[in-house]
């Protein structure tokens, strides 16, 4: 049962209040969208949840446990994996090796970390590459993949971990319309097993894939609700959609 509850999250950098008393709740099996203009605090909120930053105040609970002050790798091992906005993969390794490097590192025993991979793990890596549609590039290095395929590789790497909750930072950015549609279908498919929290700038895309949406503005939570509710919210229209969204 996946459940993330962030309560009263506040984070400031010097005099700048990046995230101001934000409450977020993500329930099992949902796709939750997070929108807001540049500088609204989306990435900072992501950083607080994944442990890359520690919030100044507020608590983050994941599956009933307080993870607010846990370190980044602990939170990843506990089941929250982030996929970055700018593609972050391991450049010197083949796509397959990227997958193998992403196997859950929260090992049952320390010794098992030092044991070579079994064939099952390699099979799973191939299967996931297949699932996102880049199996034929298993032996290619990221430099040999195009941008879209690199994004898919990073997504597949996140699936290779045992994470229950994936934080996707602008998964559709830079993709052409066809690939974007395919990605939407893929996310819906992934959602059968994983809960997703998605930051996205492309309004059509995020309205299309999300069950619920949070809107951030200047670090504050401006609105939340179903895509329809958010779309018809006046404050959102004033602050965001009306101001040249799409």
């Amino acid at each position: 049962m996946t459940e993330l509850t962030a309560t009263g999250i506040t984070k400031s950098f010097g005099g700048l209040l990046a995230v101001d008393d934000v409450d977020i709740e993500i329930r099992d099996g949902e796709i939750v969208g997070l929108i807001g203009s540049n500088g609204a605090g989306k990435s900072t909120l992501f950083n607080c949840i994944t442990g890359a930053l520690e919030p100044d105040s507020g608590t983050i609970q994941f599956n009933g446990a307080d993870i607010t002050s846990h370190s980044e790798h602990e939170i990843a091992q506990e089941g929250i994996i982030r996929v970055f906005q700018e593609v972050r993969v391991y450049d010197e390794m083949t796509a397959l090796d990227n997958m193998l490097a992403s196997v859950d590192h929260g090992a049952e025993t320390t010794l098992s970390l030092f044991r070579p991979y079994s064939d099952d793990v390699v099979d799973r890596a191939y299967a996931l590459l297949d699932r996102v549609g880049i199996r034929e590039y298993a032996d290619a290095t990221p430099a040999e993949l195009n941008y879209g395929h690199r994004k898919l590789l990073e997504l597949a790497m996140a699936l290779m971990t045992d994470a229950e909750l994936l934080l996707l930072d602008e998964p559709a950015a830079g993709l052409n319309p066809t690939t974007r549609t395919e990605l939407g279908a893929l996310l819906a498919e992934i959602n059968e097993q994983k809960t997703l929290f998605v930051v996205e700038h492309n309004m059509d895309f995020v309205m299309d894939v999300s069950d619920r949406i949070y809107v951030l503005n200047n670090g504050e939570l401006l609105a939340k609700g179903t895509p329809e509710e958010v779309r018809s919210d006046e404050r959102v229209q004033d602050a965001y959609l009306g101001g040249g969204g799409e």
Partner: protein
């Protein structure tokens, strides 16, 4: 994906980026009409040299195997002929151990020889009985590993917070500081050195050859085994993108310190064997800064981050050093032409090799040969000739 004319699509590690920039600069200096020909000549030359280096390594490998079996098939091997191969095996251990942290993890340690010294001096104080009682070599050997592990843990948690140049310089600092400390201890014989008890066994040269061979094989096996595990892939992940690795759940500090302590362990074992074999040691011999550079160069020349890279590099560079050192007729002749004694200038030759590798083959000789299969070269040459006939 569109590619720059000069971009060979190589990887993007800092070394490779520097290499690509250097290559581009060199290529730009060549007048445009001659660039293709220049590339072919350099590529052909590179492949030829690479094959030669590989041939040296193969000869060393065969010679090692021959030494192992020779006495059993009735071929006598004189004691002194083991010397070079034994030293190469020692460097295989050092270069492989360095590669765990320097190549696979991407943390270029310039102070790894400090653990060699720790191994040497653990053996010294235990066998001479100057600290806690007198012990035999086997106990001292194991203790050398334990002390190095402990020392690497302490140093690792302090130094592995740094990265890049800062880490490299800090490890060098740790080396110099430790050397000075040991040189000023009475128990170690200080700078004037100390003589160890002679080994009780006969056939000393062969025994040490076999001991170093065993250590090299164990080091290589551990290296090979680990690099196929989650831990090994984790080290590569840290090398490529440490922040990403952390976000993917890798406890980067733990992994780095573990790689570093393993590196220290094997380096110290080599030091322990070396001390016993050499019998006399002082701090200049125990902490040889030259050797720290040499082990890095070996990994670099052979190819970092791959099992056979440091092995090939160790065999080639030590043979080359000996060839220059012993100064055969060819070496003397080349030296006379250049007006220098190559015996004294072997480090200059190594410097030239370092530059050539960094610019021309950042993935080492093995990486270079993998990327430039002979047939590809031939095909390219045929195409180029055809183009030259048709075009221009």
């Amino acid at each position: 994906m569109d590619r720059n004319e000069f971009d060979d699509g190589g990887p993007t590690r800092p070394l490779s980026r520097a290499s690509a920039a250097a290559k581009l600069a060199v290529l730009r200096a060549v007048p445009a009409p001659y660039r293709e020909r220049y590339r072919l000549v350099v590529g052909g030359l590179g492949t030829t040299l690479g094959v030669l280096v590989l041939a040296v390594a193969v000869v060393v490998l065969l010679r090692t195997l021959f030494y192992v079996v020779a006495p059993y098939v009735g071929v006598p091997v004189t004691a002194s002929s083991y010397t070079v191969t034994t030293r190469i095996l020692q460097f295989v251990v050092l270069a492989l151990a360095w590669d765990l942290i320097g190549g696979q993890t991407g943390y270029a340690s310039f102070g790894n020889i400090v653990f060699f010294g720790v191994g040497v001096y653990t053996v010294v104080v235990l066998m001479k009985g100057t600290l806690v009682g007198t012990f035999g070599f086997p106990v001292a050997f194991v203790a050398a590993g334990v002390v190095a592990l402990a020392y690497a843990l302490v140093l690792g948690y302090a130094l592995l917070r740094l990265s890049g140049h800062y880490f490299a310089v800090a490890t060098l600092g740790a080396l110099v500081a430790t050397q000075q400390y040991v040189a000023n201890l009475e128990q170690t014989g200080g700078g004037s050195g100390v003589t160890l008890p002679l080994p009780p066994f006969g056939n000393v040269d062969r025994t040490f050859f076999l001991l170093f061979l065993a250590l090299a094989v164990v080091t290589a096996l551990v290296y090979w085994y680990l690099m196929r595990s989650r831990f090994g892939y984790g080290l590569n992940a840290i090398r490529d993108d440490e922040a990403k690795a952390r976000a993917m759940g890798i406890h980067t500090t733990k992994y780095k310190v573990t790689a570093w302590t393993l590196s220290a362990l094997f380096t110290a074992f080599a030091g322990a064997l070396f001390a016993y074999q050499n019998s006399y040691v002082n701090t200049g011999v125990g902490f040889r800064v030259n050797w720290t550079v040499l082990m890095i160069l070996m990994a670099l020349v052979g190819g970092m981050g791959r099992l056979w890279g440091p092995v090939v590099g160790a065999a080639f560079l030590w043979e080359l050093r000996n060839a220059l050192w012993s100064g055969g007729p060819v070496v003397t002749a080349v030296g006379n032409v250049l007006g220098v004694s190559l015996r004294d200038a072997y480090l200059v030759v190594f410097g030239v090799i370092l530059v050539a590798i960094v610019v021309g083959a950042p993935n080492g000789i093995l990486g270079y040969l993998e990327d430039a299969p002979v047939l590809d070269g031939v095909r390219a040459r045929v195409d180029a000739v055809r183009n030259a006939e048709g075009g221009e």
